[in-house]
Amino acid sequence: MLLLASPESIEEENMYRSLFQKEWIKLRWAFLAFLVIGYAALFSIASDLHYGIKMHGAVKYWSNVITYHSNYFSLLKSLPVLGGIAIALLQFVPESINRRYRLFFHLPINEQKILLFMLWVGTGITLVIDGLILIGLYAIATLFFPAEIVTISLLTTLPWFLAGIITYLGVSTLAIEPSWVQKIAIGVTTYFTFDLLLSERNFAQYNDVLVYYLLITLILGIIILYPGHRLRKGSK
C-alpha cells in the first residue's frame, strides 16, 4: 500500500530542514576544522609509528605497546573534548547573545522539540567527526599492528569520544541555563565526568563501566529541556 505523507507532516519536515540548515551554517567551519585537525593528528601518529617501527623493528615496538601500554595514539585524547566544547559554544552562544533564543521560542513549532533537535544535530555532527577520526585510526592501526592491538586501541579511544559527547551536552546545557548557580553546577559536573573518562592508565580500562557513562550521556541528552523550559518562561 502506498503511504502518503500528510500536508502537516510535510510542513513539519520542511521546518526541521530549515532548522538543520541553520545549525549546519553555524557548525560547518568547526566541522571542517576538527576534521583537518583530527587528520593532521592521525598523520603525525602514522609518521611516528613508521619512524618507530623502522628504528626498533615491528616486534619490539609491538611488545612495547602490549607490555607497557604505550599509547601511540594519545595525540587524539583531548580532541573530542575540545571538539565538544567548540561545537556546543558555536551552536548555543549565538542563540543566547541579545536573548536571541526568543527567536526560536517564537517559531511555530514546539520549543522543546527544537531544543532536542538542535542537540541531536550537534551530537550527530560530533559523532560524524569522531567516526571519521576513528576510521582513520583504524586504517593506520591495521597498517602497523596485528588485529588484537587494533581492537584494543579502538576500545581505548571510546571513553575519549564519549567524554567529547558528554562535554558537548554539558556545555550546551550550560549555555542555555539562565541561572549562574546552576551554570556552575552543570560546569563542575561535566568537568569531573569527562575528566574521569580521560584518566585511564591502561588500554580499554573503562570497558566494563562504559555502559554507565552511556547512560549518563543519555540523561544529559534530555536534561537541557529543563533549563530550556525555564528560559522560555522567563527565569533569570
Binding site: 530549515s18 549565538p94 526568543r102 511555530p108
Partner: protein, 295 residues
C-alpha cells in the same frame, strides 16, 4: 460585536519589589493599529515579553487570539509576526539564507514582499546580517515579518537605533502594507513623532500607571499646553485639570485636557496670579513629553 485580537486584563508585574505597573488593561481590536507608548523603562518590552509567553506576569492575564499568553500554540504563533526589541535576528545568516530559513515555517509566506524591500535598498543577497548597520538589519527584519503575512504584528521598539530616514522608511512601508492587508498591529515606541499618521488607538504608560488610553487623533486634538509666568514657587497637585506641570525658573508649562477658559478659571480659583497665559501649539513629540514628563 467588536472582535478583539489582544485582551490584556488586570495585568500587574513586579521585578522583585520593583513594581513595573499595576492593573494594566487594554484591548486591541481586529484591523487596528494600537500604540503601546511610554518612555524608556516604563514596561513596554515587559508587556511584550508577557504577551509572547517569555515572562509570567505577577498577576492578571493577556489573551491573544483567545489563547493565554503563556500557552500560545505553535499554530497561533504562526499568525503573529514578532519584531524583537533591537531588531534581533540570526546574524550568522546572509540575506538569502535568512529568507529561506523562515519561509519553511509559514504557510502563507510571500518571498516577493521580502525581496522587494531588499531590492529597494540595493542589498546584495549574500550580504551577511552581522555586517549590516542597525538600519539595514531593521529592514531585513521588517521584510521577514511582511513576507510571513501575519494576522497580527507585534513590533517592539521598532525605532531603536534607527536614524530618522530609516524610521520613516520603516513606517511608510509598514503603513502601506497594513492598509492593504488589514493586519492588526501592536507597536511600542518611545519615539512618537513618526507615529502620528499610523496609530489608531493608544495607551501611554508612565511609572506604575496608565497615563492615557484613547484614540490617538482624539489625544492630539484634546491635549493642550498652556504657558505662563508666575512669581514664586507654584505647587500644583496633578489632577483632572493638570496632567503635568513643567517649569524653568518662573516660566511654567501646564499640560491639560481642559480648554483654555477652564484652566484659567482653575488657576484663578486657587488664587494664583499668573502672567502672559497663552496656549502653545504642540507637535506630537511636545504632547507626548508634556504628558509623560521630561524626567
Amino acid at each position: 460585536m467588536k472582535n478583539y485580537i489582544i485582551e490584556c486584563k488586570n495585568l500587574t508585574h513586579k521585578y522583585g519589589d520593583y513594581l513595573v505597573y499595576n492593573d494594566l488593561n487594554f484591548k486591541v481590536e481586529k484591523g487596528k493599529i494600537f500604540g503601546l507608548l511610554g518612555k524608556n523603562g516604563m514596561g513596554k518590552t515587559t508587556t511584550i515579553n508577557i504577551m509572547m509567553g517569555f515572562l509570567r506576569p505577577t498577576s492578571g492575564s493577556i489573551k491573544i487570539f483567545g489563547e493565554d499568553s503563556h500557552r500560545i500554540s505553535p499554530q497561533t504563533r504562526a499568525r503573529i509576526g514578532l519584531l524583537h526589541e533591537g531588531h534581533v535576528t540570526y546574524e550568522f545568516f546572509n540575506v538569502e539564507q535568512v529568507e529561506r530559513f523562515y519561509s519553511r515555517f509559514y504557510p502563507k509566506w510571500k518571498r516577493e514582499y521580502y525581496y522587494d524591500l531588499m531590492d529597494k535598498m540595493g542589498m546584495n543577497y549574500d550580504h551577511k546580517i552581522s555586517k549590516m548597520s542597525c538600519g539595514q538589519r531593521s529592514q531585513v527584519v521588517l521584510g521577514l515579518i511582511l513576507a510571513q503575512v501575519p494576522d497580527l504584528m507585534i513590533l517592539d521598539d521598532y525605532s531603536m537605533g534607527l536614524d530618522a530616514g530609516y524610521r520613516r522608511l520603516f513606517i511608510d512601508y509598514l503603513k502601506n502594507y497594513v492598509e492593504k492587508m488589514e493586519t492588526t498591529v501592536l507597536i511600542t515606541s518611545h519615539i512618537i513623532q513618526d507615529l502620528e499618521k499610523l496609530i489608531d488607538d493608544t495607551i501611554i504608560i508612565g511609572r506604575n500607571k496608565v497615563l492615557l488610553q484613547m484614540n490617538f487623533q482624539e489625544f492630539l486634538q484634546k491635549f493642550h499646553q498652556y504657558d505662563f509666568d508666575f512669581q514664586g514657587k507654584l505647587d500644583l497637585t496633578l489632577d483632572d485639570t493638570v496632567s503635568n506641570l513643567e517649569s524653568i525658573n518662573n516660566h511654567y508649562s501646564l499640560f491639560s485636557f481642559k480648554g483654555k477658559d477652564e484652566v484659567l478659571q482653575y488657576l484663578n480659583s486657587k488664587n494664583l496670579q499668573v502672567e502672559g497665559f497663552k496656549e502653545i501649539n504642540m507637535s506630537l513629540e511636545d504632547a507626548f513629553i508634556g504628558l509623560t514628563g521630561k524626567y
